[in-house]
């Protein structure tokens, strides 16, 4: 279970009212509408600019270090502009540091986990949002509770379980424990409670459709945008997950974060190679954020708030 995933708002409609026009007949005194405040002044822009620099600088510098060579990185003052070796360092990291294999493994792991999380979360989210059954509230509360259990607590038995199953050092050992996520269930529940009209489900029942059919033809089309967001966020978490893969995998078959630890553990530290590996391992997610940043931000914000 991934903590630090989407937090859950259980009592507020999934889509906030921000952005709606102010109520009729009343001039907004200070705010346009809930939450919308004053226009940003120069100071606000300055501070935001500073925060942006702090956010992005470590990644920029990763790129700089990955594009120079080892001696240049270790000089003072440190380099601030990119050097000429970016592609040779990247290809060295790909070949020598097993980053190629690690990235393929991470793609398999994160892709599988994200797919299954989305599927099971949508099923359960639909049931919690639109179907009435005995024990619904109790099961929902139980699922909330699972979010507070730190995954590290179970690591010793989990390790034993995996060696019993013969999965040590194998990808299934990393995939199976995280096939579902409580936060995903909540995210979909919140979305469907809001976005799926009861009448639509009822109409399906009247037409004689069974539950799975209703899920397939009525729920899925409505849920698609939220499923896409949940997929991306789960993918990010699974790609970056560290502790359990580090425990159960080894260097012959690593995911990206596991391979990166190996890069840094050598006695002769090739700094620009390390940075090239870090850059390579982060690049897919950065691309995702560049292309789908709007969706990811809105997903985190709408799934958010209030425990």
């Amino acid at each position: 279970m991934t903590l630090h995933s989407l937090p859950v708002r259980t009592d507020v409609p999934a889509r906030s009212s921000a952005g709606k026009p102010p109520g009729p007949g009343r001039r907004p005194l200070w705010r346009g509408r809930a939450g919308r405040q004053h226009h940003a002044g120069p100071l606000a822009y300055l501070l935001l600019g500073l925060m942006t620099v702090l956010s992005l600088f470590p990644l920029y510098w990763t790129m700089v270090a990955a594009s120079t060579d080892n001696t240049r990185v270790s000089q003072t003052p440190p380099p601030f502009l990119p050097g000429p070796n970016l592609f040779s360092n990247l290809s060295r990291a790909w070949d020598e540091a097993a980053m190629g294999k690690a990235m393929l493994n991470s793609l398999i792991v994160a892709g599988t986990i994200a797919l299954s999380t989305v599927m099971f979360a949508t099923l359960a989210g639909f049931a919690f949002a639109k179907l009435r059954f005995k024990g619904r509230q109790a099961l929902l509360t139980l699922a909330i509770g699972t979010m507070l259990v730190p995954p590290q607590l179970g690591v010793v038995p989990l390790f034993m379980l995996m060696s019993d199953l013969g999965w040590s050092q194998q990808l299934p050992a990393v995939i199976f424990p995280t096939l579902v996520s409580a936060v995903g269930v909540f995210f979909m529940r919140q979305y469907l409670a809001e976005a799926l009209p009861d009448e639509l489900v009822e109409a399906g029942r009247v037409d004689g459709a069974h539950s799975l059919r209703i899920f397939w033809s009525i729920v899925l089309p409505v849920a698609r945008p939220a499923m896409a967001v949940l997929f991306m966020i789960t993918f990010v978490h699974a790609w970056n997950d560290f502790f359990w893969p580090f425990v159960v995998l080894d260097m012959t078959n690593p995911t990206v974060p596991v391979a990166l630890t190996q890069l840094s553990a050598g006695y002769v530290r090739d700094q620009s190679l390390i940075m090239a590996g870090a850059l390579l391992g982060t690049l897919p997610l950065l691309l995702m954020f560049v292309v789908f940043g709007r969706q990811i931000v809105s997903g985190i914000m709408t799934g958010a708030v209030k425990g």
Binding site: R31, R33, A34, V73, Q152, G208, N240, P257, I274, G307
Partner: protein, 331 residues
């Protein structure tokens, strides 16, 4: 596909007794039965995968951890378990490394969580202005969240390098002597906290931002009419308005801080990583758990550390509860 056309309300509570006058054939009755079965059973089938997988890979290990912690188990012979009662816990109680790791976990937890959430609050306030390029600023503040612990820790380890790191170079330009970020306790814990703060501030800020946008505007209007300054509006309207979210982020950060592992491990660059520095100066409970289990091969002791972590978490939540209640009583 169920053939029944019974018009039941959504979710299985029957709308009334089945009409006795309905003299349909057995096929139809079977259809109705299947339909009832579907309506009653499908919800459970839909939520089952989540609970089954959770039970198998999260709940069962959690419970079994306590059983293992009462045994001696070697990593090489995992199926040989020797009962030792509370021996592992007694050992832990008398082990100075455990108390050291506990202190470090708490101090790094405070050093990383408090500034992180304060900065997130400020950032959320800024992002809440009406402005140009607001999407850009939001995505940019979320980029660290897309960076893995491993990659982030590698970069920061270099930035905090003693001899050629950027921080020491920058300090040098204003006349400060180089700091041994890794070798000394508080500098090391500061550097590790910096990594945590960097990765999670933007994420928490977006949570706060979402909550701020849900605070009703008329509360601000009322405060403004009462002559509240902007700062007073922030402390008296915004903060209470998003209190639930603040509590939620505190809970999440506490859970995260209790388990801190990757940042100190990588900061130690290999051999120093698992022990949390040459003098254990930044060894967390997460690192100790790993060291006992996978370096010293004592899985039973490792499980005992895991339960100690859990206890710490329970105590932290209890303390939060008590504090919240005290505050509520005061006001």
């Amino acid at each position: 596909m169920a053939t029944s056309t019974t018009n039941e309300p959504l979710g299985g509570t029957p709308s009334g007794p089945p009409s006795p006058a309905d003299g349909a054939g057995t096929g139809r009755r079977l259809g109705a039965l299947l339909h009832r079965l579907d309506v009653k059973g499908a919800p459970y089938a839909f939520v089952a995968p989540f609970f089954v997988i959770f039970a198998a890979f999260s709940f069962y290990p959690l419970v079994y951890t306590s059983w293992i912690s009462l045994h001696d188990v070697e990593l090489a012979t995992l199926d040989v378990m020797k009962w030792v009662g509370f021996g592992n816990y007694v050992d832990l109680w008398g082990d100075s490394r455990f108390w050291n790791a506990l202190r470090n976990t708490i101090s790094i937890g405070v050093l990383s969580t408090v500034p992180q959430l304060m900065m997130a609050l400020g950032l959320a306030h800024l992002l809440n202005y009406r402005m140009r390029a607001s999407l850009f600023f939001r995505v940019a503040s979320l980029v660290p969240y897309a960076t893995s612990v491993a990659a982030a820790a590698l970069v920061f380890t270099m930035i905090f390098e003693r001899d050629f790191g950027m921080i020491n170079w920058a300090l040098g330009t204003v006349g400060v002597d180089p700091v041994s970020w890794e070798a000394e306790k508080w500098p090391a814990q500061t550097a590790i906290s910096t990594m945590v703060i960097w990765r999670w501030t933007g994420y928490n800020a977006l949570l706060y931002l979402a909550a701020m946008q849900a605070v009703p505007a008329d509360r601000y209007e009322a405060a403004a009419l009462d002559g509240a300054s902007r700062w007073q509006q922030f402390t008296h309207v915004t903060i209470p308005g998003i209190r639930a979210t603040i509590v939620f982020t505190i809970v999440l950060s506490t859970v995260g801080a209790t388990q801190l592992f990757g940042e100190p491990l990588i900061f130690g660059q290999g051999p120093n990583g698992v022990t949390g520095g040459a003098d254990n100066q930044y060894q967390t409970l997460g690192l100790l758990l790993y060291e006992e289990g996978w370096k010293n091969y004592q899985m039973g002791r490792s499980a005992a550390v895991a339960w100690a972590m859990f206890l710490l978490l329970v105590l932290a939540f209890a303390a939060q509860r008590v504090l919240a209640r005290l505050r509520a009583r005061q006001s």
